[in-house]
């Protein structure tokens, strides 16, 4: 089946972040980037569906400057067949602007399934997937933890608080993927070599109007360091007092 997976390039979350001089973005020097985790799950889901079917084609689409080609190659090295870069100088903060660019690309692609991660690891808006579905007039299912395809129908599972639900929907559709659905494979060197020869098309991104912008970015307040107020039973009264007056949890 023809599957499109929309992926995003994000910084490694273990990094120590700094705010850039402009005050509205993070300082990228020294940061390592990779495909966003949920997007990697989505790629894995697509690959497994097509492997199970024994045929099909997986296209990965990524919006951003030329550095995202590295991210696309990573997905290709996992086994995706084709890549498309929607070229833009930067990735805007406005999900709708992004969704419009993606929808323009996806519209005539003949895809039966369009996958997203449930949200990106950096911005965490989770907006693009649902908006693309709306723009294309397709059914949309978010945060799937399981996905079975049978003919022109699909069944997905969603985890709820203390329960789970199964939903059936017709294809084509847009599905956003939750973690745990399938462990993204580690590309073999064979895969990496093959990826170098796979097609990667570069097109200008037809971004929508950007109405949401970042005004200011801040690091979370530093947590005050822990304090040792004493040891043994003698310290209990002071602990209780602090829990009441300072931490206000009692």
């Amino acid at each position: 089946m023809k599957i499109a997976v929309c992926i995003k390039r994000v910084p490694d979350m273990e990094s120590r972040f700094k705010i850039a001089a402009n005050g509205v973005s993070i300082d990228e020097t020294g940061l390592k980037f990779d495909i966003s985790d949920f997007d990697a799950y989505a790629v894995e889901v697509a690959l497994q569906i097509n492997e199970k079917a024994g045929s099909g084609e997986t296209t990965v689409i990524c919006l951003g400057p030329d550095v995202v080609q590295e991210t696309i190659r990573k997905a290709l090295s996992m086994g995706a067949d084709k890549g498309v870069q929607l070229k833009a100088d930067s990735v805007p903060a406005d999900s709708l602007a992004i969704a419009k660019a993606l929808a323009a690309e996806l519209k005539d692609g003949g895809y039966e399934l369009i996958l997203f991660g449930k949200h990106s690891l950096d911005a965490m808006t989770g907006g693009a997937g649902t908006m693309v579905a709306e723009l294309l007039g397709l059914p949309c299912l978010t945060a799937a933890s399981k996905l079975e395809i049978s003919g022109s129908k699909a069944v997905a599972r969603r985890e709820l608080e203390g329960a789970a639900e199964m939903l059936e929907f017709p294809l084509p559709a847009v599905v956003t993927i939750d973690e745990g659905i399938a462990r993204p494979r580690y590309p073999s060197l064979k895969g990496i070599m093959a990826a170098k020869k796979k097609p990667l098309e570069v097109k200008g991104a037809q971004l929508g109007e950007v109405r949401v912008i970042v005004e200011k970015m801040e690091l979370p307040a530093e947590r005050p360091p822990g304090r040792i107020i004493g040891t043994g039973p003698d310290a209990v009264p002071e602990l209780v007092r602090l829990l009441q007056t300072e931490a206000k949890v009692l």
Binding site: D12, E14, S15, R16, G30, K32, D34, R183, R185, Y186, P187, S188, L189, K190, G191, I192
Partner: protein, 674 residues
């Protein structure tokens, strides 16, 4: 020419012809393997042949089987001269070396034949006794060919009996012909005094026939048996990994740009011809497996089986030798060394400790085969224990096999007034020594204490050094050992770039893995540095009297030092860490566990095992800790952060009353205040 001579020459030609045909075949089969250049360091190779081959240095590591085998081997060498004489006699009747050898030399030769025939016979008898009565455990398992062993021993015994019978009956037929130099056959001949000379002569002649026929049969039996090592082992030793300083256990760089179908080996054709020659040379003695920490603790790995399987699969894939065709020719192409003979689990159980390589008397490199197959699993199929994926990903993203932020790498040094290379260069200084801290030393809480201890020593001795701080990044050795050569080369090149940017020449490190990788494997990728392990570095400082030590004599510890594989068997550093303890704390009593120095048992963390679960059998670190504690030591000393973790974990889990310390901590504790 007499009919008998014609018959003999015919038999000789057939036997020699069949043998050389099979040798040709075996050589041809080797060509199925990959090319591998094995003629560098010729002097060292010859030396290895003399020391390991002729002098049987490694064989003699076993105090029981060693002398027995050496006896048979040396006897074999000496008696071969006699065999040649006997065979020539078949063509030129009455031929003897006496014709052209000076008399004393001939007498000595003649005596040697008697002496070694008796010696070999005794060794064979002992070998039977050992196998049947003593029953050493290492000879069992892995479907070894016991029958083959008895058959061969029987044949060697038969050769000696026919030889001595020939001498003795010859003596009985020609009274007075045997001089005193025939000190074994003369008394035997005396016992036969009652036999009629004509009868004795014909028995002697029959013995000659039996003897030479047995020799020729033995020769032709070799290619079909594990005793092929008789022919191949000297060559195998010559072509083995050279084992000079800094050459042990070095993994060769792969050409990752090569336009090949697959990377690494899943079958014999992707192994090198030398790996295949290893297969021919294995004697199934089991010394490797008996020393293997994985095998000892009940894991599915047996290095002997890896080698036996390599030969079996090679023979299967080529259809064996004439008369003994192995398996039907069908489906052979669908089978592979990996999976059909050697399982993934076996390969991942290896700690790359090199104990097997160290023990093998014929210099087989079992580990090379294991590593090539791991490379296949990771690079071609991306097949590995799932715990490894986060380690790979973290190395790629964070430059460390653990998910720590690269920004925190230099955190241990905060407030210690230790410059980074960047800071030193900015201040216009170029430190003489780089302290490469390593990932464990930078991030692991316990290892950080060693790091600080070593830094304190460096400072106390006034060493002009710096660290890389945030700019340090994993050199990729764990990835390489786990088969991920691609990731390794990426990380190694990156590290070399950083080191060269600061024109680093001398590196010290407290981690044997960093030490081995930076010093012995980086040269493959153009990184040339003098790398010194902290044990050697501190020992030198102590020897030069540069370490300001306290004057009090300190605590009278009983210390058992645990040898790190990458320091010991990979780099022959055994004395420096022990000497460091002795010099820094002379009052300490050093005790040795049963397995120590080049026989030391691995801690269980090498070869990427650090990142894998240990699900089967006994834990290797438990086995090792028990042994160390059995010495009565109150302190276990290590010189490796990996060993530290493994030993400390195990000591803690058994709530033993012992401390695990790094040798640097022993010294740092002894630094004079101020």
């Amino acid at each position: 020419m007499s009919a008998e001579r014609v018959l003999f020459v015919f038999v000789l030609i057939v036997a020699a012809g069949f043998f050389s045909l099979n040798v040709q075949r075996l050589v041809q089969y080797l060509r199925r393997g990959r090319d591998d250049h094995r003629l560098d360091h010729p002097a060292r190779r010859l030396w290895n042949v003399l020391r390991i081959g002729i002098a049987q240095a490694k064989i003699l590591r076993d105090p029981v089987a060693g002398p027995m085998h050496a006896g048979i081997f040396w006897g074999f060498l000496v008696l071969t001269a006699g065999t040649v004489e006997l065979i020539v006699q078949g063509i030129v009747p009455g031929f003897t070396y006496a014709r052209f050898l000076p008399r004393p030399v001939y007498l000595a030769y003649s005596a040697s034949q008697d002496a070694f025939a008796a010696l070999v016979l005794a060794a064979v008898a002992f070998a039977f006794f050992r196998r049947l009565v003593l029953h050493p455990r290492r000879l069992d398992g892995d479907k070894t060919h016991h029958g083959d062993a008895y058959f061969i021993l029987g044949m060697i015994g038969g050769l000696m009996v026919t030889l001595l019978a020939m001498f003795a009956f010859d003596g009985a037929a020609n009274p007075g012909a045997l001089g005193p130099e025939k000190f074994v056959s003369r008394p035997l001949a005396a016992l036969l005094a009652g036999v009629a000379p004509a009868t004795a002569a014909s028995v002697a002649h029959t013995s000659w026939w039996l003897h030479v026929l047995l020799v020729l049969f033995f020769l032709n039996y070799l290619p079909y048996s594990k005793h092929l090592h008789v022919v191949t082992s000297l060559f195998n030793v010559f072509f083995s990994n050279t084992s000079g300083p800094g050459q042990k256990g070095v993994m060769k760089a792969m050409d990752l740009e090569a336009d090949v179908e697959q990377f690494g080996a899943n079958d014999v054709a992707q192994l090198t011809w030398k790996n295949l020659l290893d297969g021919y040379s294995c004697t199934e003695c089991g010394r490797c497996t008996a020393a293997c920490p994985a095998n000892i603790t009940g894991k599915p790995l047996s290095p002997r089986k890896v080698v036996i399987n390599t030969r079996q699969r090679l023979m299967e894939s080529v259809g064996g030798l004439p008369l003994v065709q192995e398996h039907a020719a069908t489906a052979v192409d669908e089978r592979h060394l990996l999976d059909d003979y050697i399982t993934e689990d076996e390969l991942w159980a290896c700690t790359s400790c090199r104990a097997c390589v160290q023990e093998c008397p014929v210099s087989i490199d079992q580990l090379e085969i294991i590593n090539e197959m791991r490379r296949y699993l990771v690079l071609s199929e991306s097949r590995f224990p799932e715990e490894l994926q986060p380690a790979f990903e973290s190395m790629e993203r964070n430059g460390s096999p653990w998910a720590f932020s690269p920004a925190d790498r230099g955190k241990w040094a905060e407030g210690l007034d230790i410059p980074t290379m960047a800071e030193a260069f900015a201040a216009g200084r170029r430190p003489q020594v780089l302290y490469w801290v390593g990932c464990m030393g930078s991030f692991d809480d316990r290892a950080k204490k060693t790091t600080v201890a070593f830094a304190r020593i460096l400072k106390a001795c006034g060493i002009d050094f710096a660290i890389l701080g945030q700019e340090e990044s994993c050199h990729g050795d764990p990835a390489r050992r786990m088969g991920n050569e691609y990731l390794y080369q990426m990380l190694a090149r990156n590290a070399i770039e950083t080191l060269d940017r600061y024109q680093v020449r001398t590196i010290v490190t407290a981690c044997p893995h960093c030490f081995h990788q930076l010093g012995n494997e980086f040269p493959q990728l153009g990184g040339m540095y003098e790398v010194i392990h902290h044990s050697t570095f501190i020992e030198r400082l102590l020897e030069e009297g540069r370490v300001p030590l306290q004057t009090e004599e300190g605590q009278a510890l009983t210390v058992a030092y645990h040898d790190s594989c990458y320091l010991g068997r990979y780099n022959d550093v055994y004395d420096a860490p022990r000497e460091t303890i002795r010099r820094a704390l002379p009052i300490a009593k050093l005790v040795e566990p049963e397995r120590s120095r080049d026989r030391g048992l691995c801690c269980g963390a090498g070869g990427g095992r650090m990142w894998m679960e240990e699900r089967t059998g006994k834990r290797i670190n438990a086995e090792r800790t028990e042994e160390l504690l059995a010495t009565g030591a109150d302190t276990i000393a290590v010189a490796c952060p990996f060993c530290m973790t493994m030993m400390a974990d195990s000591v803690k889990s058994r709530e033993a009353d012992a401390r695990v310390v790094d040798i640097a901590e022993v010294v740092a504790d002894r630094l004079a205040p101020g």
